[in-house]
């Protein structure tokens, strides 16, 4: 009973999207990942054939020519020094195989990397931070964090263009079922195309070691049908609405929270931490590490170092009253 209720609640919160937690690269649901899957199968065919032949030979030779205790012949076997014909044969046959693989690989590289002239369905700018993702929708003035919403490609027919940057060290964007990874490198702007052919929540991780909490720098891509996506964008464009929690807002704005966090429409304009304008519209906090429940959020604000040691958010040593006030404010940020 509890499980049913809980899953219904989760589904309601995520707009009915299924979370695809097992990020198997051999069940691709994006165009890039599908091409990478194709060439993976081709590579498996070639390497698999070589493996079967050579490993088979190895075991056959060991079995066939092993010294048996019953063999009492003290003579050495015939001494064979080599054969140029054989050397030439097993040099040229692999050369042919390697050149086929080089040809196919190059064709995939050029076709996947150099077809960027299409108009993207959306443009999203992602900035990696120690240890969370800043997500900008420059066409709408929307800023969010860690959870990236895109329209399903079936509803637009076009992929999404990501511009990848870093605010500190190198990170890497990897959502395996949608695409291979591209690094976010400080001082550089990389781009990559992604699309999702089926709705769902796609899980991924930061894939380049970036410091203490590299493990808890998770990615969630919400691929939604176009109408749901448009609704989400429209909701995100609004400023924060928090009439219900004026006292909490006062406490929040009087503390150093505002130095790092932005809540649009208020004095909070910090840029070092995630934008909190629509915090409650996200399903997770702490870069995907924790579910966004009132309890988790409270524990997190109370002592981030306990929840995520090394995180750059300090423990603020709030009094119980301050914590209550801030929680009531944060929980109103829909």
């Amino acid at each position: 009973m509890f499980v049913v209720v809980a899953s219904i609640l989760v589904l309601l919160q995520t707009g009915g999207l299924r979370e695809r937690r097992v990020a198997n690269i051999f069940r691709p649901l994006g165009t890039q990942a599908a091409h990478e899957y194709e060439i993976a199968l081709f590579t498996f065919a070639i390497t698999g054939a070589i493996f079967v032949i050579v490993a088979g030979l190895l075991f056959y030779i060991i079995w066939r020519f092993r010294h048996r205790p019953s063999d009492h012949n003290p003579d050495e076997p015939p001494q064979v020094y080599g054969s140029n014909q054989i050397e030439i044969a097993w040099t040229f046959i692999p050369i042919l195989g390697v050149f086929v693989l080089i040809g196919v690989t190059s064709r995939f590289i050029f076709s996947l990397q150099d077809t960027t002239s299409q108009t993207p369905a959306e443009r999203i700018r992602i900035v990696g931070h120690q240890w969370w993702w800043e997500v900008h929708y420059p066409d709408y003035g929307v800023v969010t964090a860690n959870e990236i919403h895109i329209p399903v490609s079936g509803s637009t027919g076009r992929p999404v263009l990501l511009q990848l940057e870093s605010a500190d060290v190198i990170h890497s964007f990897w959502v395996p079922q949608l695409s291979g990874k591209t690094d976010l490198i400080p001082g550089r702007a990389n781009t990559m195309w992604i699309d999702a052919r089926a709705p769902g929540i796609y899980l991924g991780n930061c894939a380049e070691y970036c410091g203490t909490q590299h493990a808890n720098m998770l990615l969630r891509v919400f691929a939604e049908p176009k109408p749901a996506y448009d609704n989400w964008i429209a909701a995100q464009r609004r400023s924060a609405q928090s009439d219900a929690a004026q006292s909490g807002r006062n406490v929040f704005e009087s503390l150093s929270c505002v130095n790092c966090h932005t809540i649009r429409g208020t004095v909070a304009k910090g840029v070092f931490g995630p934008d909190l304008t629509h915090l409650m519209s996200r399903t997770t906090i702490a870069a995907g590490m924790l579910e966004n429940t009132p309890k988790n959020l409270r524990d997190w604000v109370n002592d981030p170092q306990e929840m995520k040691p090394g995180s750059l958010m300090p423990s603020m040593k709030l009094t119980g009253a301050e914590l209550n006030a801030i929680m009531s404010y944060l929980e109103s940020l829909h």
């Binding site: 091409h35 390497t47 054969s83 040099t91 080089i102 590289i109 400080p186 550089r188 040691p309």
Partner: protein, 554 residues
């Protein structure tokens, strides 16, 4: 008046008297043994670090170690295994064997040789001193935690406070100087101290491999040391080579590091190739098939290996032309590597294969290195690598090359030359137990890693949430790691026991063919009473078969 015995009492040596001949030694054999012992001690340390990591990852959301400590563990594990286990094992075998195989009395520069060893050892100790002295600032941690390839700008002072990264730089740099000294020595020795009659075409394959290897060390290590000096300038003197906040380049470090780092993996595998090329013929009772092709293949790998480095950088956003170039150059390596595997198989074909422990390790080497080579080809397919890069697949791949390849080769060599170096034979049952437990544990640990990579598990994460399909495979890996630890315990017990109590091995227990087996076990300090004269690549075969010597055919 008591009557005193005038007969000489057996003298009891004090500890310092027993240590002095080792510490002050310039004998290539003693230095070689010290290299190997030091490397094996570091192997146990880095192995323990690996066990801790595997324990942490056995189940999801585990709390055996803290995140920061986990990051230090994988940094120190990687750095130790490459610079304090791999490089000194290589140097140890080279030091011990090259003069003996060449019929020389010592290396060309004995004191440089000793310098190389002590530079390595103190470099290693300096690195580990980071655990004590790395703090520098309160709360900034102890040992280095930047990963063994120490990507900028994570190593800059803004992100790596305290001194731990400085210890990484200086410790590794010092071991690098030791390796350079040792490489120069090997080149000089092979080129100028070969005994009469041993021209280059008759030189044993192990020595050939180490000659090419030493050239690669000379080419590969200076870029790393240069980059480390730049990083030190950044950290301590306000330079901005890699400081992206002041316009430095994060990618510059990656280029420098992998121009070192990729040849480095060939530097590590070449001695294993060399050992397998010595052991397989002796235990197949046939000469190596296609000697010249084997040498040519190694020279080819050496050349190609200097132009493949950016296959570690397929995901940084290089142009399609660069990606295609490095994919192609990397795949070319498969051709000479294939030639080597075919020649080993051809050597075994038609022979009388004695499955003694050194040969068992060689067979395991060929099998696992074949897999490592093929997964390497998969990683070279750049679009496939965009998925596999920095995932557990990569960890599986390079442990197949470095354990399945390098370590299996080293164990083959240790079991093969142990009787030569100690004069005693190891215990056969314990050695077989070591072999089987190690191979089974190894496959349990590292085969599942490839599949975790397919399931999207990135490397260097200290924990993971349940429900992502990673639990079972991770648990199997941890079990395998403990099986490997038991295997290593068998090896340690066997070694310590056999050095004292093993049966006497005699000069030539394997009925082998290279010059080191023509002298006593252990060899006297001067190696050979009379400098030998050789007429073929198997001088002892010629002696044992005067009616059918090799030089008639070569």
């Amino acid at each position: 008046m008591p009557i005193e015995s005038t007969a000489e009492q057996p003298r009891v040596f004090s500890l310092s008297e027993r240590l002095y001949p080792w510490v002050a030694s310039t004998d290539h054999k003693r230095l070689g043994i010290m290299y190997v012992i030091a490397a094996l001690l570091f192997l146990v340390v880095a192995g323990a670090q690996a066990l801790l990591m595997r324990t942490q990852l056995a189940v999801p959301m585990n709390h055996v170690v803290s995140p920061a400590m986990y990051n230090r563990l994988f940094t120190m594990h990687g750095t130790t295994m490459v610079f304090l286990v791999g490089m000194p094992l290589l140097a140890g075998f080279t030091n011990y064997l090259v003069p003996l195989m060449l019929g020389a009395r010592d290396m060309a520069f004995p004191r440089l040789n000793a310098f190389g060893f002590w530079a390595f050892l103190f470099g290693g100790l300096l690195l580990y001193y980071g655990y004590l002295g790395g703090g520098g600032l309160y709360g900034s941690g102890s040992a280095p935690d930047v990963g063994w390839f120490a990507y900028a700008p994570l190593t800059e002072r803004a992100f790596s406070r305290g001194s731990s990264t400085d210890y990484w730089i200086l410790g590794v740099m010092l071991t690098g100087f030791g390796s350079l000294a040792s490489a120069i020595n090997v080149i000089a020795t092979t080129l100028s101290l070969r005994c009469p009659g041993m021209n280059l075409s008759r030189m044993p394959l192990f020595v050939w491999l180490m000659l090419i290897d030493s050239w690669l060390i000379l080419i590969a290590l200076p870029p790393l040391n240069a980059a480390q000096i730049m990083l030190l300038l950044d950290r301590r003197f306000g330079a901005h080579f890699f400081d992206t906040q002041a316009g430095g380049s994060a990618l510059l470090w990656q280029h420098f590091f992998w121009i070192f780092g990729h040849p480095e993996v060939y530097i590590l595998i070449f001695p294993a190739f060399g050992i397998v090329s010595e052991v397989v013929p002796v235990f197949s009772r046939k000469p190596i098939f296609g000697r010249q092709a084997m040498v040519a293949a190694v020279v080819a790998i050496g050349f190609i290996s200097t132009s493949v480095w950016a296959h570690h950088m397929f995901t940084v956003g290089m142009t399609s032309i660069s990606n295609a170039f490095f994919a192609a150059s990397t795949m070319l390596v498969a051709i000479p590597t294939g030639i080597k595997i075919f020649n080993w198989l051809a050597t075994m074909y038609g022979g009388k294969i004695l499955l003694e422990v050194p040969m068992l390790f060689c067979c395991a080497f060929i099998f696992h290195f074949l897999i490592a080579g093929l997964t390497g080809v998969m990683l070279a397919v750049a679009p496939f690598d965009w998925q596999l890069h920095d995932s557990y697949f990569v960890i599986g791949h390079f442990h197949f090359t470095l354990i399945g390849g390098f370590v299996f080769g080293m164990f083959a060599g240790i079991y093969y030359w142990f009787p030569k170096a100690t004069g005693r034979m190891w215990n056969g049952k314990l050695a077989k137990l070591h072999f089987w437990l190690f191979v089974i544990g190894f496959d349990l640990t590292f085969v599942p890693m490839h599949f975790l990579g397919f399931l999207g598990m990135p490397r260097r994460i200290y924990t993971y949430a349940p429900g992502r399909g990673w639990e079972l495979l991770n648990f199997i890996e941890t079990v395998g790691a403990y099986v490997q630890a038991i295997a290593i315990a068998c090896f340690v017990i066997n070694t310590i026991h056999s050095i004292r109590k093993g049966r006497r091995a005699g000069g030539d227990p394997w009925d082998a063919w290279t010059l080191e087996w023509s002298t006593a076990s252990p060899p006297p300090e001067y190696n050979f009473e009379v400098i030998p004269v050789v007429r073929s690549s198997r001088p002892l075969w010629d002696l044992k078969h005067p009616q059918d010597p090799d030089w008639k055919y070569e």
